[in-house]
Amino acid sequence: MNKFKLDKGAYIIRLPYFFYLLFIFILFSTTLYFLVNIDSFQNFKISFYMKTIKFTFIQAFLACSISSIIGFFFSLVLYYSNRDQRIISSFLNFCFILPVIFISFGSIYFYSSKGILSTLLGWLSIEYDMKIFSLTGIIYVTSYFNIAFNANFFYRKLINIPNNYLRVLQSNGVPFIKSLRLQLKNYIFSGYSSVIILTLVFCIGNFTIVYLLSGSPKLTTIELAIYQSIIFEADLKMAILLGFTQLIIILLISFSIITKSKSFYTFTSYKNSFLNLKKNIFLELIFWLIIAYFSIPFLVLIKGLISFNLELLISISFLKSLLNSLLVSFLSIIISILFTLSSLFVYRYFLEQNLFFHKLIFLSISILLFIPSLSLSAMIFYLNFQINFMIDSLWIVSIINSLFITPIMFIFLSGKFTENYKIEFINIVLFKVSSVNRLIKIDLPKIKYELILITATLFVLSLGDLTSVTIFNDSSFKTVPLYISQLYSSYRYDDAFFILSIFILLIFQIMYIPTKLIKKNVKS
């Protein structure tokens, strides 16, 4: 490769990435300094500390195992159903990114003691004893997302099986399940380690679900314990220690994928393959049961819309929280796009120069995916405390959200951004295209569709987030998920479900925008 001299524009483009590195360095070194200088833990209770860690892993392993087993089973049924693969895959993706607060309240509405299921069973004179505010409830809701995530992975693998292979199987009369067991097993599970580790990380970093459904101090994850340490015990030392414990454990677990992976399998595009099967009533029934399972939380929309409350809808407190939510998401996305484009630029530069550093760039960004939000919040809270709370809550929550979504955006866009980079680089050198021009006229148009899609998805993820805002809220700053949770805590259930429904309808609209935009562009 030719050595390429960077122009001024390249330095400007690199600036956000260096700013990001500096921020991360300050954050980690300040908290590490704080951690090594702790002289005493006055209220440290080793038994609770150990119990919290133990429970975090028990619930994570349980949810992870259930999600992978059921996810695999679901993917088979969905594959056998022979329905439109793009719709099924999009549906599973959609279920995966739905706001946690929506699925949690949807499940409460269906499974609680006065919920739909209890009422239905009551009519049939069947006793209902399930407690949603328990470990069962936590595992159920946690698994909802991860089943969708795992099922989508397996489903995409299945639909990638070449048609020729399937024809040969059918002409030789070999049942598909038998070939799956004997031949396809290795193919189906290749790359699954990254998915299972991600699932485990999601489950370990479980906060919102445990925050809403934990009915006992025994059911406390590390994330919830961090929240309790800051909010109720004024114990920043414990919060930081818990955050670091979690970070180290997660990094140890996910070390393998951080170093080995360049991109996550689930983001790759898929081909179509069809399994020509005769309609089977039993499979059809299971297919519809799966759809029903994923649709259960949506029943809360009916309840919410029936409880229409105009006064609440136009109340200052709701409008303020909606504005805050939109503002936080908007700022998070802007910061995230800046960080992502800048780091992708640096990442590609090292690729072009054939230098090993590109792996370090990937590592420096993707590491954030493994720091759960509350651990990050504890560290930022401490940093803000050191500078006399100079940074406003709105900015803090936006920064935390952006740090959380940047690695996702980076991983999603990296493939397309670096596509044909070698040939592109030769032309750039040949025609002396400046860095800014390259970014604006070549890179951005190239990643346009992917950027629109991921921006909308991450905007929705950020809108529905109820993690850092639980620590950084005050009377003047709260987001819609927190507003809903506070309505629910004040036992204004109808109002909470109503706002939740309005919020979800808004999210549907936001998710619809990229589809419309892309269609419009394709037509033009």
Binding site: K45, S47, F48, K51, S112, S113, K114, K131, F133, G215, S216, P217, K218, Q228, I230, I231, F232, E233, A234, L236, F385, N388, F389, D474, S475, Q486, Y488, S489, S490, Y491, Y493
Partner: protein
């Protein structure tokens, strides 16, 4: 005249017109639409020529923690919503200043140089009399009735939760942990805050919920529902006194002191019974007959003001029953 001077001169009259601000930090339900906060604000602003600004935390448990953690760098003048169990710890942290308010003519006996009371209540368990026909009459009977499910609040994070730990410690003393163990299987939910727990009880998640003897008055007077009752225990009921205090770095000490004074007048206290659903600290029996009829005072056990060590011991008694 340069530009900066011009702007300062232009803004000077506005500065003179600006009212003083009093920032009061309290728990969310106190300043909710149905709480006493909005009415108290109106009443106080009529006499103080100031702006009363409510700042809220999610629960009473989070109030003191926030001020302690930030050393009140957020600049609140008054903290409203601690209870007597937290007073000792609050004083130890040196975050409050002494007041000069006369508290000798109150309904309750009060003599503290840092804090003034604004309401009080008695802990009890609430049940739905349409569902539970034979309610228990004592802690002993409660522990023997395995069929009864209970929702309590976490004593580490919620003042009613801590109140129950105190109540049990007062009744069972050294045997408190054993009692906690006995009722452990009946406790179906330990919520973070009173409102979380009470809401779940109303949603049918348990037979009993830890609350106050005044809770049925809310259902009766506001919702017209008579089925919610409070248990009357032979052993007597522990009380809770909610207090407020002036924070050390208050920007306007005189205004803060005025607010403390105001909190012991009828204009403040009349909003407590049917706003915060607690007993007022001055005698309002004549004007609040409805409330007192719906929430008669129960048999009380001795009021205690615990040291931090005592408070920690109550919580430890509860914790032991969970860990073991």
């Amino acid at each position: 005249m340069n530009f900066k001077t011009f702007i300062i001169l232009l803004l000077l009259p506005l500065g003179a017109l600006a009212k003083q601000e009093l920032k009061v930090f309290t728990y969310g339900s106190f300043n909710s639409e149905w709480g006493p906060g909005p009415n108290i604000k109106k009443e106080f602003e009529l006499i103080c020529d100031c702006d009363l600004i409510w700042n809220t935390a999610d629960s009473s448990g989070a109030l003191f923690s926030r001020v302690k953690l930030t050393n009140n760098k957020e600049g609140y003048d008054i903290l409203l919503g601690l209870d007597e169990s937290l007073i000792e710890e609050a004083k130890k942290n040196n975050l409050f200043v002494k007041h000069s308010i006369n508290t000798s003519n109150l309904e309750i006996e009060w003599n503290d140089e840092y804090f003034t009371p604004f309401d009080y209540g008695y802990f009890s368990f609430i049940y739905d009399s349409m569902k539970l026909k034979q309610p228990p009459n004592s802690f002993k009977e409660l522990a023997e009735r395995d069929d009864l499910s209970i929702i309590i609040m976490d004593p580490r994070y919620s003042t009613p939760g801590l109140g129950l730990a105190k109540w049990i410690s007062q009744i069972y003393e050294e045997n408190s942990t054993n009692f906690w163990k006995k009722i452990q299987d009946q406790i179906v939910i330990t919520s973070k805050s009173w409102s979380d727990g009470y809401g779940l009880f109303l949603e049918g998640e348990s037979d009993l919920v830890l609350s106050y003897t005044t809770s049925p008055a809310y259902h009766s007077l506001i919702e017209g529902k008579e089925q919610y009752k409070s248990l009357k225990f032979e052993e007597g009921h522990a009380s809770q006194i909610e207090v407020m205090g002036i924070l050390k770095n208050a920007s306007n000490l005189d205004l803060a002191e005025n607010f403390l004074n105001f909190s012991l007048t009828e204009n403040f206290q009349k909003h407590i019974p049917q706003g915060n659903w607690m007993y007022p600290v001055i005698d309002l029996r004549a004007s609040q007959k409805e409330f007192y009829n719906a929430a008669p005072l129960p048999v009380s056990i001795d009021q205690i003001f615990p040291s931090s060590e005592e408070k920690n011991r109550w919580v430890e008694n509860w914790e032991k029953s969970i860990i073991e």
